[in-house]
């Protein structure tokens, strides 16, 4: 056992802190304060990515040869911690954490050369075309079809829950190229280099929090080049499964959760308890906050074991356990935030939530985001495979251990 961070990591932390204290613009900081989702406000998140990229820090987890930092896992964790501590907007995950790492692992040399630099620089943004109206948790039953036509595919069908598609200029997607065999075997993974192909129609969906984060995308005889295919035709399921691992595991999520606990604790100091005095001094509140924080700390310990390379990360259930813990803790944090804000959560404040708006919040910044954050966070147990699907996968490992 060895938990020492060592003095060189402390000086690294100071170097990171010095940069993070000065580099973000006021708009980027405002976006961080008004982030109510896994997806920070688009424009400022991209602006922050460009600043980090100029410093070489946009993709800490990527291999150095593709523009990563070469940092150790401990350094990456410290970086994530310092970013959350300053409440900076998280970088958008689709490119840097999903399609980028997937291309590094499975893309052709040409695909890597073409796409990776643009992903890093923030000049392109990729939306994920996986789910369909009739293929959610049962993703492999997807029907959006691509028919071969010379050097192209012709796509017909639709995709849904394509996050930020209305801001995106690229799309990675799964299409059905064979309807005859097992449903997993007729799927192909495609990279689309435009989102404005003739016949492509993107329609934003207003979410529970009042904002268009998700979209629906319709394909009517959309012709795309075959050069965008990753892996072999009909082998897209293995590409998708590989990418899912990046989506579900290997993150540093506990710093954000712990930061929110600190915000809750602060907010409770100035919130009146209905029994008199400050809510922060209410024994029931203290107990419940402590229970939530303790559970987050156990998750943090789980994350620390994972980044240390503990054998548990080789358990097939690891990505699903990570996703389930993280998503459900986020939801409990969001509930605790609304509990502190109480009746202040009731006013609808869409304008005040918009970055750069001149409409002031009706209460505190904390009150402003509590309800939208709660509403948006309902999605965490639904996306990336519902938590019911994750529990199926976890249970399979408990049962398989005995077969």
């Amino acid at each position: 056992m060895n938990i020492e961070f060592g003095p060189e990591l402390e000086s690294f932390r100071q170097e990171v802190a010095a940069f993070l204290d000065t580099a973000p613009t006021p708009a980027i900081r405002e976006a961080g304060r008004k982030t109510t989702s896994v997806f920070a406000p688009f424009e400022q998140a991209i602006a922050w990515q460009k600043i980090l990229n100029a410093k070489g820090w946009a993709a800490p987890a990527w291999p150095k040869e593709y523009g990563g930092t070469g940092w150790s896992v401990e350094q990456r964790y410290i970086f994530a911690e310092e970013c959350r501590r300053r409440q900076l907007p998280p970088l958008l995950p689709n490119c840097l954490q999903m399609v980028g790492p997937m291309l590094i692992d499975l893309g052709t040399e040409e695909q890597k050369r073409k796409h990776l630099p643009l992903i890093l620089s923030g000049d392109v943004y990729w939306t994920q075309g996986y789910s369909e109206p009739n293929a959610g948790s049962d993703l492999a039953s997807l029907q959006c079809a691509a028919v071969s036509d010379g050097d192209d595919y012709i796509i017909n069908g639709s995709k849904i829950w394509t996050t930020l598609a209305h801001h995106s200029n690229r799309m990675f997607m799964l299409v059905r190229t064979d309807k005859t065999g097992k449903k997993q075997e007729g799927i192909t993974f495609l990279l689309l280099e435009r989102t404005d192909y003739p016949g492509m129609d993107i329609r934003p969906i207003i979410g529970l929090d009042g904002f268009p984060e998700q979209c629906e995308v319709f394909f009517d005889n959309v012709r795309v080049p075959k050069s965008g295919r990753v892996g072999a035709e009909n082998d897209g399921w293995s590409v998708a499964k590989h990418l899912l691992k990046h989506e579900r595991g290997g993150s540093a999520a506990s710093p954000a959760l712990l930061h929110n606990i600190a915000r809750i604790r602060d907010a409770a100091k100035t919130t009146l308890s209905p029994f008199g005095g400050a809510l922060a001094d209410d024994p029931v509140f203290q107990r419940d906050l402590g229970e939530l924080e303790a559970d987050i700390l156990s998750y943090r310990h789980f994350e620390q074991l994972a980044i240390s390379g503990h054998p548990m990360v080789r358990d097939a259930a690891y990505p699903s356990m990570n996703k389930t813990m993280n998503s459900e803790l986020s939801q409990r944090v969001s509930i605790m935030m609304t509990r502190v804000s109480g009746v202040e959560t009731v006013p609808l404040q869409l304008e005040a939530l918009t970055v750069g708006s001149n409409v002031a919040p009706l209460g505190t910044d904390f009150d402003l985001i509590a309800m939208p954050y709660y509403l948006n966070t309902r999605a965490t147990s639904i996306y990336a495979g519902t938590n019911e699907v994750q529990r199926d996968l976890i249970a399979r490992t408990v049962l398989a251990a005995n077969r």
């Binding site: 938990i3 303790a294 490992t397 049962l399």
Partner: protein, 374 residues
């Protein structure tokens, strides 16, 4: 960073596991519980033989010069076998108090006996309805000459009736709630004025409530004054080792319940194919992963000398809460047969519940965490 045990730690764990696999299976444990014996003397000698009893003690009393964190990997194995011997209490609490007394003649002698396995030690700490923190100790040690006179009652003293020596935590000044005024005293369990009410615990251990009626303690038997921080340290050590036992029990429960859900058939299929059952298994595994991670992380912190009171609260509360949820889920998954004394699952339930109740229940620790920023 790494959270792995060393080769030596793993070797000792494996040899303890081999011994217990051979001699301490569930049936052997059931037979032991049905006998009059408070615990297995044969097992105790073997623990001494294997070096477990010597592990955390200094070499000049026959110890191996290790630390409490070295006990964690073996404690997991003890927990998986639901051993009833009072080793965790004797080593971390009674033995820890003697070690901290340093060059104290009587302490040295008892420590050597503890290491060799010739006698066990008990630690009298708990009082009415449990003590979550040392400052709440109320039982009085009235100063008398250079020693003290003990009056009052200590409860749930593990191994008290079998102990060759007893360390008593008592209050020489102030009142319950004060950190000041606590002492640790070495007492002969057979001294005049001591009355014991021995009993078996729900989870199969031997313990006693101990009454003290004008029990004199000589100055030479005072182990520590201003003992609050020392007692807190001993409790923290005990929590770490008992949490490791509980996690070992939880690991066993997950394995046993997974196996049962795979083989038990109802409606013509294995019950693990029902999603409600499968998801309960998934929740057990998630709870186990959290408890295990907190145990490993806390062990690494303890080894680095950086385990704070807040960290201990997290470990105690989380392992207690997760242990209960896993064990209750295990009983439910086993159905009717899970309700019987014949099956191990109920015994595991009782072991983790005992852990949950001791040294402050989860509610206490959660409130401690919630009322103080990190």
């Amino acid at each position: 960073m790494d959270f792995l045990f060393t080769e030596e730690q793993t070797m000792l764990r494996d040899s303890v596991a081999r011994y217990l696999d051979k001699t301490y299976d569930f049936d052997a444990r059931q037979a032991l519980l049905r006998s009059e014996a408070p615990y297995s003397k044969a097992a105790w000698s073997q623990f001494a033989e294997l070096g477990v009893l010597a592990l955390p003690f200094p070499e000049d009393v026959g110890g191996l010069g290790g630390s409490v964190t070295d006990l964690v990997p073996v404690a997991e194995v003890f927990g998986a076998h639901l051993t009833v011997e009072p080793w965790a209490f004797a080593l971390t609490l009674a033995g820890g108090a003697l070690t901290a007394a340093g060059n104290h003649a009587a302490a040295r002698k008892h420590l050597a006996d503890l290491v060799s396995g010739t006698r066990i030690g008990a630690f009298a700490y708990d009082e009415h309805r449990g003590i979550a923190a040392p400052a709440q100790i109320a039982m009085t040690a009235t100063p008398s000459g250079d020693g003290f006179v003990l009056n009052g009652e200590k409860r749930l003293v593990f191994g008290a009736a079998e102990a060759g020596f007893m360390v008593v935590a008592a209050r020489a000044a102030g009142q319950a709630g004060d950190a000041q005024g606590l002492v640790l005293l070495l007492v002969d369990p057979r001294a005049a004025g001591i009355t014991m009410t021995p009993f078996r615990t729900q989870d199969g251990r031997s313990a006693a409530h101990v009454r003290f009626d004008k029990v004199g303690v000589a100055g030479a038997d005072v182990l520590a004054k201003d003992a609050h921080d020392l007692i807190a340290k001993l409790i923290s050590d005990a929590i770490l080792v008992l949490a490791a036992e509980a996690v070992g029990a939880m690991t066993a429960l997950l394995r046993i319940t997974g196996a049962y859900a795979t083989t038990r058939k109802q409606f013509g299929v294995a019950i693990g194919t029902f999603q409600t059952v499968a998801h309960r298994l998934a929740d057990m595994k998630i709870a186990h992963a959290k408890a295990y991670a907190s145990l490993m992380y806390s062990t690494a912190l303890a080894e680095a000398g950086r385990l704070t009171a807040r960290d201990v609260s997290v470990l105690k509360a989380q392992v207690g809460k997760m242990g209960r949820s896993i064990a209750e889920a295990a009983v439910q998954t086993h159905g009717g047969v899970g309700m019987t004394d014949e099956l191990s699952v109920g015994h595991y339930l009782k072991r983790v519940l005992a852990f949950e109740a001791m040294f402050g229940a989860p509610d206490y620790h959660f409130r401690k965490i919630g009322s103080s920023a990190a």
